[in-house]
Symmetry: C2
Subunit: 321 residues, 2 copies
């Protein structure tokens, strides 16, 4: 028998992933409608919006209005992203957002240079500044994250030992700042992962750091998302990010059916069919997925929302054999 977890925890990132990349314009009311629908599904965590420069990401210009318009549901953790002091202030102003920092390291110097314009040394210095600020503000940091943990378009495959070294370095940085890390996130940012590389990397990190909770962020750009999640489940991983209806899309081919993050309802379907609890009502999630398509105005890549849940078919058919 595989080492499946009893319970899987999903962080829903669809709104943030989708609103930042969709050409829209999507009305504030439509954004609220989608996030409110997600709040009714049983999902525990929703990453809602980003506080970023509206000239660069017009879909996030109404982040504050969207958040202030939500029917905030007790028991759900709502989060947001920010990339500078100003964004952090805006996120703190909302009041009900879960504000946490994390330590993110990158195996690819080229990616770091291209994306953040930093050398690894500069990145660590800036990370240090940020962590001191979090400390001063009382903002918790419980998570480290390794970007491009399975491969990167600039530097190719990410060797397992590089990932293990980056986790060690991230934990050393945490130590220097008296932080207690609980979770190690492995992100397949550029969709290089395969079920086997997921197993190898998860296995190696777990062997070194058996007390850490592992979390997977799996992009579906090459169609391996669900298979990679299954590999993670086989390794006992219980924390996954997902994106409703597969919202997001990859920069190579947005709006052509290519996906960003693994589709939440397909992942929940997989879990339920394997007998793994998620606390999520799949039918409500499918409704939210159909709302996501309405909100963006075109078909999205998720499958189960079109193919249908099996529960109704099962109860109709009984145990006919």
């Amino acid at each position: 028998m595989p080492n499946f977890p009893d319970r899987v925890h999903i962080c829903e990132e669809g709104p943030r992933e989708g609103f930042q990349i969709e050409p829209g314009p999507i009305s504030t009311a439509a954004k609220i409608r989608l996030i409110d629908a997600l709040s009714e599904t049983g999902v525990e965590h929703i990453q809602t919006m980003s506080f970023v420069d509206p000239r660069r990401v017009p879909g996030m210009a109404d982040a504050t209005e969207v958040l202030r318009g939500l029917k905030v549901k007790p028991g759900i953790e709502y989060s947001a992203l920010w990339f500078n002091e100003r964004g952090l202030r805006q996120a703190l102003d909302i009041g009900f957002l879960s504000i946490e920092g994390k330590i993110t390291l990158y195996p690819s110097e080229t990616f770091l240079k291209n994306n953040l314009g930093r050398t690894p040394e500069e990145h660590r210095r800036k990370l240090g500044d940020l962590l001191r600020k979090y400390g001063a503000e009382g903002i918790p940091v419980r998570r480290v994250s390794i970007s491009s943990a399975f491969g990167c378009n600039f530097q190719g495959e990410t060797p397992v030992d590089v990932v293990v070294r980056l986790v060690r370095e991230a934990l050393e940085i945490a130590d220097e700042h008296d932080l207690t890390i609980e979770t190690v996130g492995l992100a397949d940012t550029m969709a290089w992962g395969t079920p086997e590389s997921v197993k190898r990397t998860v296995g190696a990190v777990r062997e070194k750091y058996p007390d850490m909770t592992l979390s997977l962020h799996l992009h579906d750009t090459r169609g391996m998302g669900i298979a990679n999640a299954y590999a993670g489940l086989q390794m006992g991983v219980a924390h996954f990010d997902g994106s409703i209806a597969g919202l997001g899309g990859c920069p190579f081919a947005k709006h052509k059916g290519a996906a960003g993050n693994v589709c939440t309802e397909d992942l929940v379907f997989l879990c339920h069919e394997l007998g793994i609890e998620t606390g999520i009502d799949l039918d409500a999630l499918i409704e939210a997925s159909l709302i996501a398509e309405e909100v963006v105005g075109h078909a999205l890549p998720g499958k189960v929302a079109k193919g249908g849940n099996l529960t109704a078919l099962r109860s109709k058919s009984g145990t006919a054999h």
Copy 2:
């Protein structure tokens, strides 16, 4: 280490699956263009067209013209479907088609009744008539196939022991007609399969019939196609059907991104990334996938054709770590 096969054999069913369901109209030249492109990929078997009533399936009205227009490539097995004597005659007339019969059994009496209008007894009688005809014509029958081997919308889950019993019955029917069966096909016709049910069913059939070649036909209606194929690979299955770009679509939601058969290029990508040979040139397959989208005039669900092969990125990046 998983029990992966060294070599996977793929039967490309995209043209037949696609042309029968796409609203089109797709010109004869466009159909020829797609099949000819597939002939250049290294794929060993292409299921091309169906000889059916053109009033019921207008996309197959030009089956003969399409086949006569192909650049037939030596070494590739081209096949077609037929459902009656007239269709069989038309297929035989083409000359270069691989003409084989198979024995298909159905776990669901309701499906059999709804789809073919037959009771199980009638089905077996008609199957007997057909096998006698094949015998008289010298048409080989080397394959049995179990439809809805993992579940069915009318009767729910298909228990493993039902599949094993149906395989036994199919082999008994073959024996009665002096046929030597080499391959057992398990079809997830209505997309009820999960990686675990694929493993259980493949395992049970293999245990009883270790000398049979097993083949999987996996519909991706609920997004489990690639994960189910991975489960099959973990069990050593080396024969899969695939559909270029995910052509086909399910009747629930055609042309909305919902898939029919598992996408061939995504499956080939998975195999190659796992180090399994397919004999297929993935870049040529991606080209064929883009042609498929041109031919049908809309985006199709395949991912790798949009996300891109890793080979070029890999050689560009070298072993940078």
